[in-house]
Amino acid sequence: MLMKDFDFTITARCLFCGVPLQGPEDAEYSSGDLIECLECGEGNDYDSVVAVAAEKGIEEVENTVKGRLAKNLKGLFRGEP
């Protein structure tokens, strides 16, 4: 199970309405910035958006690894008499 086999995409979502945050392609945000949600108009704190996205990312990685491990373990015992 190699890490290069995994491909994760985490979408940054508005903390207030859950809609994916969108902005200009060349936009650069940093700590302390407020990212405006085009759907509800609320300002999202950059650090908080990153924290939520990181938490979801870790959850996704955990679930994927657990799934792969379970699959691999099943395969290990398949050949036993």
Binding site: L15, F16, G18, G32, N44, D45, D47, A51, V52
Partner: protein, 139 residues
């Protein structure tokens, strides 16, 4: 006399953050019951009457949006904790208020005009109409 403060679910979320800061603990260690005691405490803080039922209505919205979650299996409004998203909502609102307060005088004036542009347009139209009428009837 109680002042009129429009109480929202965000005030409930702020209670959790205040409790975190009061205890010096992170969000994972702070759990609160949304009960009559919390309603009374929030009423005193905001200077308005909040019933337990109303507060639980706010809690329902926070639970639905996953800003609050249950930390133990028990009553619907017992031992609730703030999620990362819920904390983010509070921090976003605090940051917005901070930026709002730091605006320069010129920016405040510009924002005021922007917020009330309809009124300014109506005022301008009114002045133009009065000027036209004065010119027509008084020469």
């Amino acid at each position: 006399m109680k002042t009129s403060h429009h109480v929202t679910e965000f005030d409930l979320l702020e209670c959790f953050v205040e409790e975190m800061e009061r205890r010096g603990e992170n969000k994972n260690l702070v759990r609160l019951d949304v009960d009559a005691q919390l309603a009374m405490s929030l009423s005193e803080k905001l200077g308005c009457d909040i019933t337990e039922e109303r507060l639980q209505g706010f809690a329902d919205r926070c639970l639905a949006n996953e800003w609050l979650e249950h930390r133990v299996m028990g009553g619907k409004y017992l031992q609730l904790g703030l999620t990362t998203t819920g904390l983010g909502v509070v921090r976003s609102r605090q940051r917005k208020q901070q930026l709002h307060a730091q605006r320069s005088k010129l920016k405040r004036l510009s924002d005021y005009i922007e917020d009330h542009k309809g009124l300014f347009v109506a005022l301008g139209a009114g002045i133009a109409l009065v000027s036209l009428l004065v010119k027509l009837f008084l020469g």
